[in-house]
């Protein structure tokens, strides 16, 4: 047994020294563009670079919380490069209005995400997640392998609409008693604990509201003039995500063969039949239905997303308390990334950065692959959203520049997917941290399965994806 006491002391030391280092590095990085003169880069570009470097250091080291960095980025952009900049900017430079930087907080895609939070938080409050899990798991019977598949199917489906973390928490709570009932040497314990975060991480890819990197991609693409509808995103993501979940299941069954003959999962949950719950179920169903039928009625998902907000608040199903419980910090983090993208593009920093490399020597598919791979690598050690925030503006500008011939939608999509495919370490995502906390999974197990699934997933989305999308007519 490991000693929490000793780990606590060491963890505290590591965290404080990393934070301190981050603060110092961040300050130094911020100062560089004010001291060093980069040839061909404009004065506003220098200022944007200072903010960009600071954001990189703070988001990587978590010197201050991620959402705090997002707020800082917005503030610095306003005082440095907006039309309200405190220090005068050269003539000829078209400063973005400061309201557009604040405006990132209310970006339509964030409103879509807000709607997603309303649905997810309501599902948790009315126990819809547990009662649905009970119903869905029943047909999978009691064979260990089928149960494993059932748990993964539930996790993947739920995380398309709920956060990956909440999905994992719900299902880990369900399987903890199962794990405790199994023989200590039964590898099914490891398989179950790993299956949930893996399936939840993959499931998050499935819809625009599945996970924050998707929102970051959608919002950045929207700002650049490219629209992907809710259904089109799903058509691009769900078939491959489903295949990947099945692949992951095969891998887990092979790597951790169960030694028990049968296993039973007990979920104590009844459908809540209170009037408030019915209002919620109806709202949930209507919202999802409207999202999925966008081509029929043409109402954008970002407007449909506000329906649950209006209905649940209007009917009093959600009160002030529920509004406060919304995960605003995640919306702020995404907004910080959007603001950063705005700053980087409006000052020309993005074009300057891209000009540093001779991209035209590289084929388009390789550029997409590299960006996706970098997103996965970064997200393995830092927050998926932060990685997407940092890569998205550069990636999209590159895709839209004359130097290369790649589809910007594919670039934005693959950066988001790449970020979601990072699941090799306990720190890679909160779902991994939760699974690791059960004490049944070793870092080695997580590393091996996470790496295999990450690599296979990248290959599938990069290699099979374009072919499939052309067949489906969504390319």
């Amino acid at each position: 047994m490991y000693s929490i006491e000793r780990m606590a002391r060491r963890a505290r030391l590591v965290v404080t020294s990393r934070r301190r280092l981050g603060l110092v590095l961040g300050a130094v990085a911020f100062a560089i563009p004010f001291v060093v003169d980069f040839p061909d880069l404009s004065e506003p570009g220098h200022r944007a670079m200072a903010v960009f470097l600071l954001a990189i250091v703070f988001w990587v080291t978590e010197a201050i919380p991620l959402f705090a960095t997002a707020a800082l980025v917005m503030f610095l952009l306003i005082v440095l490069i907006s039309d309200q900049a405190l220090w005068s900017l050269p003539g000829g430079y078209e400063a973005p209005p400061f309201s557009s930087i604040y405006g990132a907080l209310a970006h339509p895609v964030l409103m879509l995400f807000l709607g997603g939070f309303f649905l997810a938080n309501g599902a948790a409050r009315f126990g819809l997640d547990r009662s649905l899990a009970r119903v869905v798991l029943r047909p999978f019977g009691d064979s260990p392998k089928m149960i494993l598949l059932g748990v993964m199917a539930v996790a993947a489906t739920f995380s398309m609409f709920m956060s990956n973390t909440a999905t994992t928490a719900t299902l880990v709570a369900v399987i903890l008693p199962v794990i405790a009932s199994l023989e200590p040497g039964d590898r099914l314990r490891v398989a179950l604990a790993l299956a949930i975060p893996i399936a939840a991480n993959i499931g998050g890819i499935g819809t625009p509201v599945g996970t924050p990197p998707n929102a970051i991609a959608l919002a950045a693409l929207t700002d650049a003039g490219f629209e992907i509808g809710f259904l089109r995103w799903m058509a691009m993501a769900v078939p491959l995500a489903a295949l990947l979940v099945i692949g992951a299941w095969l891998l887990l069954v092979r790597a951790f063969p169960p030694s028990c003959a049968s296993v039973s999962i007990r979920i104590d949950a009844e459908f809540d039949r209170s009037p408030a719950a019915w209002v919620f179920y109806a709202t949930f169903a209507a919202t999802v239905a409207l999202w999925l039928t966008e081509p029929l009625h043409g109402i954008p998902a970002t407007i449909v997303g506000f329906v649950p907000v209006v209905v649940l608040l209007g009917t009093g199903v959600f009160k002030a308390r529920d509004l406060q419980a919304i995960q605003w910090h995640i919306l702020w983090l995404v907004a910080g990334g959007l603001a950063l993208g705005l700053g980087v593009t409006s000052t020309g920093l993005d074009r300057w950065l891209i000009g540093l490399v001779g991209w035209d020597a590289l084929p388009g598919w390789l550029i997409v692959a590299l960006l996706a791979l970098v997103a996965t690598a970064m997200s393995t050690v830092i927050s998926n959203s932060a990685a997407a925030n940092l890569l998205m503006p550069i990636g999209l500008t590159l895709a839209m520049s004359d130097a290369v011939a790649v589809d910007p939608i594919r670039v934005g999509f693959m950066i988001a997917i790449g970020a979601s495919l990072a699941m090799a370490l306990p720190i890679s995502t909160p779902p991994n941290a939760i699974a690791y906390s059960t004490g049944t999974v070793s870092t080695g197990d997580m590393l091996r399965t996470g790496l295999v699934i990450g690599v296979v997933g990248l290959v599938m989305f990069l290699g099979v994806g374009p072919v499939l999308w052309r067949l489906l007519g969504v390319s």
Partner: protein, 166 residues
């Protein structure tokens, strides 16, 4: 991540050993400290404080040489540093009046009558420490294997990672 201690106050060596034996599953996750009377217990609390370790749970006998167990619990309840500790009386000899005093003035959380069973005591400790961990500003995930895992996991997700790693 904060370190958390379980404090056992029991004057009879065999009984103390038996309690400590039953607390074995919590070893490694919590610092387990034993004291044979209240004076000793006060020293332990002081020492833990200098090490930056908080007392999460006090398992206290009532009839102790010198100060009584319930009086010690009232004392702990009056001190801001130990007010949050979960307080459990583990005794066969606390009368009604002492027990009432412990409930009303020490915020007694649980009463385990002697003789106790290992499973029963472990259940109480698990429940009380889960409450303590959930109330405090600590990272709850490390305690999933040893405390009420489902509750801790759900709470961890609710806390939204304080905006980290999302």
């Amino acid at each position: 991540m904060t370190e958390i201690a379980i404090l056992v106050v029991e004057d009879e060596p065999e009984v103390r050993d038996a309690i400590e034996r039953d607390l074995a599953p919590f070893q490694g996750y919590f610092r387990i400290e034993a004291a044979d009377d209240v004076a000793d217990a006060r020293d332990v609390v002081r020492e833990l404080a200098t090490e930056g370790i908080v007392v999460g749970l006090v398992l206290c006998d009532h009839l102790l040489p010198g100060t009584l167990g319930t009086d010690f619990l009232v004392e702990l309840h009056g001190d801001a540093a130990t007010r949050g500790a979960r307080k459990v009386l583990l005794t066969g000899q606390a009368g009604l009046e002492d027990t009432i005093r412990a409930v009303n003035e020490a915020g007694l959380d649980h009463y385990v009558p002697k003789p106790w069973t290992a499973a029963g005591l472990q259940g109480t400790v698990r429940e009380q420490l889960t409450e303590f961990v959930l109330e405090g500003d600590v990272d709850v995930l490390p305690y999933v294997p040893v405390l009420d895992g489902p509750r801790l996991v759900a709470a961890a997700a609710d806390r939204g990672w304080e905006g980290r790693r999302t």
